[in-house]
């Protein structure tokens, strides 16, 4: 366990190097919220109704704001492509010869990244949420708090496993980086990042929520918005755990099978 703690610490220090660029970047990531507010105002005005997809205007804007929180946990920028490059260029050798699991190594790396991200992003997030407080539905009910936090943490593990599983495809296909863009586009929509999945026709919503992606963003966000009772929240947590278990299994098996095919290119 000590070695992974070291990985965590080194990566932590590394992340603190680019502070200013980071702070500005975090703020600017919220810029599209302006378009969201403008667009949905026009849509609600045009529709002439209070609720669209069981969400009021304020809730709709909050949805997009809270998606930012869920994404802060679940998104793994560059994870799948790092794995793909390591496999293709033969960099994986370095890890295979060490008494260290590649997957667990990266898990710690990501935990460190996320820890730094939360510390540094807290201020910009707090400011943006303060400015937009008029839209927000208020805090989730007291007894749901632990579940909310748990589901965000599980969203992190789920995001990690989904991206690992995709990256593992590199063992079988030489050039997967371009497929990753397709995957990212699909994930963007299927996870409810582009719009709340409740806006879809019922049959489509039901099919899309069968996939793991909705458990990464859409469901946790709905819970944070107070749209779920205790029973539904429990189901969500269970669903997340099941998907994490399934994907961990896929990663474990895929990793073992993949290593057998691995040719370790390069000198």
């Amino acid at each position: 366990m000590r070695k992974y703690w070291q990985v965590f610490r080194i990566s932590l220090a590394d992340r603190f190097v680019y502070r200013t660029d980071f702070l500005i970047g975090t703020f600017l990531r919220f810029a599209p919220i302006v378009t969201t507010i403008a667009l949905w105002r026009a849509v609600y005005a045009g529709a002439g109704r209070e609720e669209i997809g069981s969400l009021r205007y304020g809730e709709m804007v909050s949805y997009y704001l809270i998606v930012m929180i869920a994404r802060a946990f679940g998104s793994m920028p560059g994870l799948a492509s790092t794995l793909a490059t390591d496999i293709r260029d033969g960099n994986l050798r370095k890890f295979i010869v060490q008494p260290l699991s590649y997957v667990i190594y990266h898990l710690h790396l990501r935990m460190a990244h996320k820890s730094v991200y939360f510390v540094m992003a807290a201020l910009p997030y707090a400011l943006v949420f303060f400015w937009c407080r008029g839209f927000l539905p208020g805090w989730p009910a007291g007894e749901l708090w632990p579940l909310c936090i748990l589901s965000l943490v599980l969203a992190f593990f789920l995001g990690f496993m989904i991206n690992m599983a995709i990256g593992l495809l590199s063992f079988w296909f030489m050039e997967v980086t371009s497929f990753m863009f397709i995957f990212m586009v699909s994930q963007y929509f299927l996870s409810g990042h582009q719009f709340p999945l409740t806006l879809l026709p019922d049959w489509l919503e039901r099919s899309v929520t069968l996939l793991p992606f909705a458990y990464e963003t859409f469901f946790p966000v709905m819970m944070l918005m107070g749209k779920m009772n205790a029973a539904e929240a429990g189901q969500l947590i269970a669903g997340q755990c099941i998907w994490i278990a399934i994907l961990s299994g896929v990663v474990a098996v895929g990793w073992r099978r993949g290593l057998r095919r691995y040719a370790a290119f390069g000198g």
Partner: protein, 270 residues
Amino acid sequence: MTAVLGRYGRILFCFARNGLVRELSFRVNFAVTVISEILWLGMMLVFVEVIFRFTKQIDGWSNHEYLFLLGTHFLISSLFEAFFFGNLQRISAQIRTGDLDFVLLKPANTQFLLSFERISYTALANIPLGIILCVYAFSQLSVSLTVKHVAMFVVLVCSGVVTLYSLMFMFSATSVWLIRQTSASHFWFYLTSCSKYPAEIYKPMVRGVLWFALTFVFPVLIVANLPANVMVRVFEPYLVAYALFIAVGLLLFSSLVFNWALRKYRSASS
């Protein structure tokens, strides 16, 4: 004059040929990128369909009028990406690493060389997608098609591309001072994507200040909105004149800014 044009024509042809050779060595990548662009557009269309399930119009834009705007946006951004985006994005790195020296030494206009060096054939392949969407949306609207309107549309699409080009070229030139601008480039991306939606939606924001700023100060809103307006909504000659004025004015201004920035360029390395 013809000799100069001929020379630049030959350089352009050379760039285009090199780009094609590069593209052909990654054929699968080409196909996959095109597919993912189609997917992206498809997803956007799903989003539009979802929105219009609930409303008949967005600030006066009906479903098909908006689809036409989206098609125009896609067409303009594909044109921009095909010819300029990658080139302009690289300028910042060229300034940081000092590679700009090699471009400065060549006996041709620096802005020209920097702007046209690589053509992205993948983005070029997206252009028909934008046109198809426009044609489909237009066919669903009961608007009459006249030569004058189409000609205006073409001119405005071109001036939209020039506007985007000039803005981003100026932006890239600022890396002489800013050196690193990774977060700034995200912001750039966001600003240009504003133009995907009807300009009217921004009017109620901050008492119209935002709409004003994005139309007159940093004119990204007119890029796709104007040509779409001309074709499927209202034809206002003064807006067309304004768009042309902006495009030409910004192009000249961007060249001035660049030459000014060049004087501050310190090169890099030894």
